[in-house]
């Protein structure tokens, strides 16, 4: 059996790069750029094959540029609503706050006093927000696509496919980035 493994590994090649990652295997990447007209405030929505979506910052988001540091992350988006209070129960996830595309998830303040709002981008039930980044904001900077995720949302069953209709594919997103670079938009 060891021989089989060694043969397979030679095909994979002994290097940093390897077979598809967890995200590559299970998720499709979708993007929403310039949220609410704000330049470069791009989000990346990871859609699992089972229709669950993870909201993350796209690599082009201002928070992730120029060595910015995070001062504060606030899930209290209004007087009456804190995403931290979100509670779901049972298999059907009853009780989760229902979100529309422009529902705010959190507000992030950087050390340079810049404030950014992160939005849901899709319709669905909020399952959880990432509390790990409250304690360790660096996670968001170091691993924005994995441990630094913002929230997990479950779209309605009937809307599982249509939920990404307003979003950009990876290809289209890269085109947007290319165009920006050509126009030299500062972020």
């Amino acid at each position: 059996e060891l021989d089989c493994i060694t043969i397979r590994l030679h095909l994979l090649s002994d290097s940093e790069k390897k077979a598809p990652s967890v995200i590559d295997r299970y998720f499709t990447r979708w993007y929403k750029t310039d949220l609410k007209g704000k330049a470069c405030e791009d989000h990346c929505i990871l859609q699992h094959s089972n229709r669950i979506c993870v909201i993350t910052l796209a690599e082009s988001h201002p928070i992730l540029q120029n060595g910015r540091k995070i001062k504060n992350i606030n899930y209290q988006i209004s007087d009456g609503c804190s995403r931290l209070k979100n509670k779901v129960s049972g298999k059907s996830k009853r009780g989760g706050q229902f979100l529309t595309e422009f529902a705010p998830l959190c507000r992030i303040t950087c050390t340079d006093e810049q404030e950014y709002t992160i939005f849901s981008c899709i319709r669905g039930r909020l399952l959880e927000v990432n509390e790990a980044i409250l304690n360790k904001p660096d996670l968001l900077l170091e691993k924005p696509s994995t441990e630094g995720y913002i929230a997990v949302i479950l779209p309605k069953f009937e809307e599982s496919k249509s939920v990404t209709e307003g979003l950009l594919t990876r290809e289209r997103y890269e085109e947007v980035l290319t165009k920006r670079n050509q126009q030299e938009e500062p972020c």
Binding site: L2, I5, T6, L9, L12, D14, S15, E16, K18, A19, S21, V22, Y26, H48, N50, R51, I52, V54, V88, S89, G90, K91, K93, L127, E128, N130, A132, L139, K143, T146, E147, Y149, V152, L154
Partner: protein, 518 residues
């Protein structure tokens, strides 16, 4: 001889007058001997007539009984006690039907019907040496029974006697006593109170279906609204309402004795049901492209075959079962192999037409399954009881499982980087419901234990990790961390991004089912 007493005489008279069949008469006289009901209709009839004529008062003429011996034995005598002339009316065919049992205890107690039932059972080709007979009667029979009982009660109360409803023999019992001997004989099997093979005989009577309806007005709380447009007049609901309703109210809404009908009951098809048989064993899965259960999305099959279908197919055909339920001690993903002794499973075979197999035959079945595909293998195949299957799910949190995983690391490693893993014992981890199952599982945090680990270095970015964990641990998520939702995870321990390329289950540490030596 029927063991009728003096006190029964007025009851017999009153019931024959009302048009009851002879077996219903016996029931209301509380005759509890099975053999009485097995006798032919004419026999019982003759003896009843003789019984009531023992008194000096009005002599009945049983002219109609004698004249029509060739006719179906469901004529009865009309006795008009008041008149000096014995008014014997040749019973019309449409008034021949007993208003209490609606014919169930008449023609259906003949050997011909018993043979019909037996033939229907034979056609379905079950193997059995005993059976239990169940009878289902239309709900309105309870109403008619109640009405007849009140009718009889009135009569004997005047003679200061008492007849409890529980003392009256039930139609079901009388019917079974009448037919089970013949059925048992035809099928060469004992008819018992309990058996794994159930033969069901049912009757219906559309003509009188509305007999119960008045009860919904008098006792509305007994009748719960049903889903699926099913009738609210279930047997249980009707019986409950009859217990509640006062005699006076009942008599106002329903004739006592019950009115005659134009038709008799019709028999429903005889059905047979054998209790489920449970087959247990352990299975190995050697394919990384085989789901445990059929993988269907939106009615479309996404992957061919499944562990359960491969195991159940030969069982379904040998046991000639209608269907199956598959369960096992945990499950592995499509892309995970199950090695070692395999995973315990149990198959419930529904309505098996054949249930008795000896050890050799079961061994043969095991061989058949193993020959059918190289993707799976089963061992320790055996018939078990339903109760025994609970052993499989027992102690799901205490049991352990061992795995072997092919790990990729982002940072380059050498064999010394892995040594620390062997020193970790009973590592506590907390796993939020993995994202990949979160759509169908509740969101929760599961505390789990990684009991021990060991590793085999392969190259700069790969090694084999062996783990022994508490049952219910998600191994893949322990390795890659699932967005940090499993903590701690292997990435944390090794301080690098890591991923799992392959996973094998090496053992499922449950000592059930018992091993069967080859």
């Amino acid at each position: 001889m029927l063991s009728l007493k003096e006190k029964d005489r007025p009851i017999v008279r009153k019931l024959l007058c009302a048009g009851c069949c002879v077996r219903c008469v016996l029931r209301f006289c509380c005759v509890g001997t099975c053999s009485a009901y097995r006798r032919s209709y004419e026999d019982i009839h003759k003896e009843l007539l003789a019984f009531i004529s023992e008194e000096s008062s009005p002599q009945p003429h049983d002219a109609s009984g004698e004249e029509k011996t060739d006719e179906p034995p469901n004529k009865r005598l009309r006795i008009d006690e008041g008149s000096t002339e014995a008014s014997v009316t040749a019973a019309q065919t449409d008034s021949d039907i007993c208003p209490v049992c609606l014919g169930v205890l008449q023609d259906f107690c003949d050997p011909t019907f018993a043979k019909q039932v037996s033939d229907a059972v034979k056609n379905q080709q079950y193997e059995f040496n005993s059976l239990v007979l169940t009878v289902s009667l239309p709900a309105q029979l309870s109403v008619r029974e109640h009405s007849c009982w009140l009718h009889v009660k009135k009569e004997i109360r005047e003679k200061s006697m008492c007849l409890g409803k529980e003392d009256v023999i039930q139609v079901k019992d009388a019917f079974k006593w009448a037919v089970q001997g013949k059925i048992g004989q035809e099928l060469g099997a004992a008819v018992l109170a309990n058996s794994s093979c159930e033969v069901s005989v049912g009757f219906m009577h559309p003509e009188t279906e509305e007999d119960c309806h008045f009860l919904a007005n008098t006792c509305p709380d007994c009748f719960k609204p049903t889903k699926n447009k099913a009738s609210i007049f279930t047997r249980m609901a009707v019986v409950k309402a009859l217990e509640k309703i006062s005699e006076e109210k009942f008599s106002r809404h329903y004739p006592c004795p019950p009115k005659k009908t134009n038709t008799r009951c019709t028999a429903l098809d005889t059905t047979c049901l054998h209790t489920s048989v449970f087959i247990a064993g352990r299975y190995n899965k050697f394919s990384r492209e085989l789901p445990q259960t059929p993988w269907v999305i939106d009615g479309e099959r996404r992957m061919d075959g499944s562990v359960e279908e491969l195991i159940a197919a030969p069982l379904l055909s040998s046991f000639r079962a209608d269907g199956f339920n598959f369960s096992s001690s945990g499950r592995e993903d499509v892309d995970v192999r199950t090695l070692g002794n395999g995973r315990p499973f149990a198959v419930e075979l529904l309505n098996p037409h054949r249930a008795k197999f000896n050890r050799t035959e079961i061994k043969q079945l095991q061989e058949t399954i193993n020959q059918s595909s190289d993707k799976i293998r089963v061992r320790d195949l055996q018939i078990v009881t339903r109760e025994a299957t609970s052993r499989m799910k027992e102690g799901e949190e205490e049991k352990t499982k061992t795995y072997s995983a092919l790990i990729w690391t982002q940072k380059a490693i050498d064999s010394t980087d892995l040594e620390f893993l062997a020193n970790i014992k009973d590592l506590k981890i907390a796993q939020k419901t993995p994202l990949r199952v979160l759509h169908r599982r509740p969101l929760a945090v599961r505390p789990r234990l990684i009991h021990s680990m060991s590793s085999i270095y392969l190259d700069g970015h790969h090694f084999t990790l062996k783990l022994c964990t508490q049952a219910g641990t998600y191994i893949k998520e322990f390795v890659h961390g699932d967005f940090g939702r499993t903590k701690p995870n292997l990435c944390d321990l090794m301080k690098t991004n890591a991923d799992i390329l392959e996973l094998d289950v090496e053992s499922v540490d449950i000592d059930w089912p018992p091993a069967i030596p080859d």
